[in-house]
Structure formats: C-alpha cells, structure tokens
Amino acid sequence: MIFATVGTADLPFDRLVGELDRIAPELDHEITAQIGVATVEPERVEWFRFTDEETIERLYAEADVVVGHAGAGTVLTALINGTPTVVVPRRKELDEHKTEHQFDLADAIEDRPGVFVVRDIAALQAAIEAADRVELGSLERDRSLETFLADYVGARA
C-alpha cells in the first residue's frame, strides 16, 4: 500500500496530488492519499483531506512506501516507522509553501537509507518504484536529545 500525504499546511500541493493520480494506474499498489487543501480531486486513488489520528497512524504503519511533502512531521513519522519514503519538497514560487526550506530538509536527508527525493515531479513514478524495492529495518535512534532534555529539566526544575 502506498500512503501519500501533503500534511496539514494551509497551502495546496496540487503538483504532487495531480501527478500521483496520473501515474496511479502504473503503480502496482493500492494507494491512499491525504490531500489536505488540494484543489484537484484525484480520480484514480482513494483519498481524503484530513482524518483522525488513529487512521493516520494506521496508514503510516501499513504503508510499504510513504510519499510525502518534505515536512518534518511527515518525514519523521515515516522514517521512524521504518518505511521507505519519497520526499517531495514544496516550492515557494509555486505557492506551495511560504518558504523554500523544505528543500533544505530534502538536501540534508537525501543520503539516508530509504529516502528518495523528488525535485522534478516527472521523477515521481521512478522514485516510488525505487522506494518500493527497498527493505528498511526499524530505525535506530540514539535518543541523545531526549536524554539531554530529561537530564536538563530534571536538574533544574
């Protein structure tokens, strides 16, 4: 199953939703798309705009591939779940986002296992197919930030 998500941002990400819908028949998977405030409504995939937390968690857990905008929440959740992730940064010039900083995140994580960055939407299908071939183990996290915070707060408060 492919789970596609554009996050909860106020700006539409029609470029991703439209292309996903276009290539859907070529992909060998059931596809569910969270489309947020997109102005295009897909015709070839199951979709919804927003939903409850439980459903979202289940979709992330069941997905073989996550296709998402390059938002921190989306990417963190997908990678922590150990799911290969296609990351599509929103572009400011196309009014998909208020800044270009999704590209910074995409650049910074591009070499991590299971991450496939799509800057030109025409490359979406190839990226999804590549992500589909990857088997990721569960993500090892060193918890150094959490440990630091726990110690800091514990000592001071």
Binding site: G7, T8, A9, F50, D52, E53, E54, A70, G71, A72, G73, T74, L76, T77, L79, I80, T99, H101, Q102, D104, L105, D107, A108, L139, R141, D142, R143, S144, L145, E146, T147, F148, L149, A150, Y152, V153, G154, R156, A157
Partner: protein
C-alpha cells in the same frame, strides 16, 4: 514535576509528542491549537485559536495563556515552536518559569520566525542540526536530534 509543552499544530505537534519521551515519569500538559488533532490528543491539554500572523489573535491567546500558566504552574515550559511559542515563553519567562526552546528538525540552515525571537528569551535554546548553531549564535546548542 510538571512540564508544559507548547507547540503549533502539524509537524510541531509531532515533534513535541516524540520529544515528550524525555518527560516520562513527569506530569505533562500540552498547550497547542484547537485542531482536529489537538482535540483528539490523549493528554492533558489546553487548546487555543491559531494565531498565524494575526496580532489581534496573538493578543487574545496571550490573555488566555496567562491564567492557564498561573493555574498550571509548570516547572518548565518546553516548546517545539510555531508562533504559539512566542506568547507562551514570554509569559513563562515573566512568571519565572524555566523555558526551553527546541528548534524544528526541518530547520537546518535557516532560522524559524519564533526561533529568531525566542533565542533571546529562552533559558535553553536547542537546535537539531549542528550547522544551525553558527547561524543563531553562541547560546544555541546542538545536543542531538529526533532522528
């Protein structure tokens, strides 16, 4: 100990929930926005109207936060940002509550709006990418990242 966790919706909330592992064993209360996810949050919480860039809503939320902080009396306020962090940390600071700002994981080379303002306010200012410490200044610390 009681930790208040202030955050915007979306990725900010996701990061806050992941980070909250740091506070296992302590009491936590969330200060976040009144969205579907906020309402479904299975935690002690207070929900506020989204501020965005609206100064009037910022004022209203500030006036609503004050009695909440006075009643809750947290030992520390930790934020993963978004603009809700601004009135929350400023009020907390004025009330003598320990303040911690954690810049978003998506901020690698550029500062967030709330980060830029609260760099001068927070007792502890953390970034999740080491290169961002130079962009912010001496006070910014890198002590690891969510992933």
């Amino acid at each position: 100990m009681k930790i208040a966790i202030a955050c915007n919706e979306g990725g900010h909330l996701t990061e806050a929930q992941l980070l909250s592992e740091a506070f296992d064993g302590h009491e936590t209360v969330y200060l976040t926005y009144d969205t579907l996810r906020g309402r479904q949050l299975d935690e002690r919480k207070h929900l506020f109207r989204k501020i965005g860039f609206n100064p009037l809503v910022m004022l209203v939320v500030t006036l609503q936060l004050l009695p909440v902080l006075l009643r809750e009396r947290p030992d520390a306020v930790v934020t993963t940002g978004g603009e809700i962090a601004i009135p929350t940390l400023v009020l907390a600071k004025l009330l003598g509550i320990e303040t911690v700002y954690v810049e978003s994981w998506c901020r690698i080379r550029t500062r967030s709006g709330s980060g830029r303002l609260l760099y001068h306010v927070a007792d502890l200012f953390l970034v999740q990418w080491p290169q961002l410490t130079d962009v912010y200044g001496e006070k910014a610390r890198y002590e690891g990242a969510l992933i």
